[in-house]
Every structure is written in C-alpha cells, then in structure tokens.
Symmetry: D3
Subunit: 69 residues, 6 copies
C-alpha cells in the first residue's frame, strides 16, 4: 500500500516499552537519529514489534513543526 | 525553551514552497533523510525560512506511526 | 507494510480537489460514510489519486475524538 | 455546537478500556467498520462512556492519511 | 454533543482568510490570547464563519506540546 | 528556537499526573483558561515539570478545530 504521508523514514527498533494502554517505541533511523513513537499496546502486539526489527517512522507533513535556531 | 516533543531532528532547509495559506517545506536531516512539513505561510514569513537555513523538524511522539515491512 | 495505526478504513475515492499546495480528497467507506482528507498535492500526484480508486482512510487512534450526543 | 472537523462518523461504543491515564475506546460505525480511539481516562469519566452508547468518531481532515493498494 | 477533547476554549472569531482549499482562522480567546486554526474552506462555508462570531478552539490533549522556558 | 507552530500560549503548570507511559499535565493560561496536555512521562522527567512552573501550551494550527455554537 502506498501512503499519502510524506515522511516514511526507515530504521530499526531500539526499544519497546508497553504501558497500561499506550506503548513507547524508540526507532533509530538509518541516518542515526532516534525517533520516539507513542502507539497503542495493541499495535505493538499486532506487529509483534521488538528490538532489532526493521521498521519505519511514518509522519504526516501536517504533523511536522519547524524550529529555527 | 525546552519542549516536551520527543522528536527534534536537526537538519537544513532544502526547499520552501508557499501556497495560498499553507506552505510546504523540505528539510534534510543531518543523517540524510528528507522530511516534508506543511506549515502556514505566516510561519514561513515569521521565521524567514529559506533554503540553507539550519532548522529542526519537530514531531510529537503521538504523531508517529510505526510501519513494519 | 503493516501499520501501527489502528484505523485503516477501506473505501473508494469520490473526489480529488487540488489546491495550491494542499488537496482535499473525499473517500466513501465501504460502509457508506464519507471521509474527507487534507493531504499534499504532492501525495495526490505520487499516488495518482483519482475518483474510483480503491483506497483507505488511515487514522491514528490518538487523532480520534469521541462525541456523545 | 457545529464543528469544523470534516469527519463526524456516527456509531455505537463497543468497548472502553481505561489505562493509567489513557483509555482505548472502540466504536462501531453505522456502516460496520470499527474505529479505535485513544482518549484520556478523564474524558471517559466525564462522558460516562460505556458499551452501547450512541457516539461519533470525530477526525479532522488533516489527520487522515490516504493509502492506495 | 459532548466531546472527549479536553480543550474547548471559548472566544470570538477575529479573522477568516480562505486559501485555495485551506483557510486560516484567528480566534481571540476570552482570556485574551489569540489562537490560529487551519481548517478547510469547506468548513468555513458550512459554519458560515465570520469575524465577530462566538466560537471555540477545540484541541485534543494529545496535540498539545509543553514548552518550558 | 523559533517555532512554526502558530500557538504558543503562556501559562503556569497546575498539575502533573504521570501514568504508565503517558502523563497528563494541566496548565493555566495567563488569560485564565485551563489546558490539558497528554505528553510522555519521559518528557515530564526531562523538563522536570512540576506545579508552579512557567510553561507554554504549544499547538500547531492544523490541530485546532473550530466549534461554533
């Protein structure tokens, strides 16, 4: 499936921490930056997400804020 | 100002395209990936965003979807 | 690619209206409801979105508000 | 109150699962599709959300991603 | 309709600027702060939004970032 | 750092409630309104957020819905 989301950044899962309903997942992008995602525990289970998995961080362009130093 | 947003990814502005009210900005992260942001024209003007600017893509963890191949 | 997004609602594209940078796309879900999406013109072009296309509306659970009558 | 949000999809609450601060709510749209929402526990209490309630899933157009098979 | 969204901030419309598909609306909250919203032109028309209208800025808690000086 | 986000509303932290992975923070804007944010516990720790802190609620214009009575 092709996505309209402009940002599909490939990387690898570093850490998965499940909470009560919401999990926190850390991904290292191929370029080195670390991205944190808050997703449902349900999604973690369904995708069987675990450290080392090849995965992407997907972000809609309208969810990106620009900061200028 | 320190931000609660988990993802502040440093990079450089590649392209700024203003629309009628909404602009599209492309940023190259330091690791090489390109991120597209949709922000207001007003923000582009206020930050005087232009290609070559050092800038960051800021994304809240709850706006990141994980995709697994 | 499997997505962490909890809502992937299948339907068919009804209408695509491009703006200056942002397009408005209407999708009819298989159950009949109509969903409106605001995506970039760039995404419309890249996916070659046109009326009649089989497509899905994808929404992260954290972007859904509940309203109770 | 009329909302600018383009998507107000009527349905019925199927399941409410409260977490530590965040609840997960499943709604069945009138057309049959199931929508998952992540909202605060506080909202669940304030709306007294429970299975069987008539409710709507409300989503802003800018939060909808389009996926094309 | 009662909303799960935690933030329903009452105010008055100051300015409505329609774009090609997306409008920019400025609202002055009752406490004085000015809030900018990017909504569809379609929503502006449907709500017949105009300066002087009593209206609210509605924001889901998961869309609020905290900044600390 | 200057932000493209149109809404940076100054206030003071009223309450911080950490959950399993997600915290709920209440802020009183200078104009009096109370804003609720759902952020990661990790962000609460990193910003050492506590009641009485001077802080801002930051919201992208595309995350604001307008409601008209």
């Amino acid at each position: 499936m092709k996505l309209s989301a402009r940002n599909v950044l490939p990387g690898k899962v570093l850490e998965v921490r499940k909470g009560a309903t919401t999990a926190q997942v850390k991904l290292q992008l191929d370029g080195g930056a670390i991205v944190t995602a808050a997703i449902t525990n349900e999604a973690v289970d369904e995708l069987a997400l675990a450290p080392g998995d090849v995965a992407s961080a997907i972000v809609k362009a309208s969810d990106v804020i620009i900061g200028k130093a």
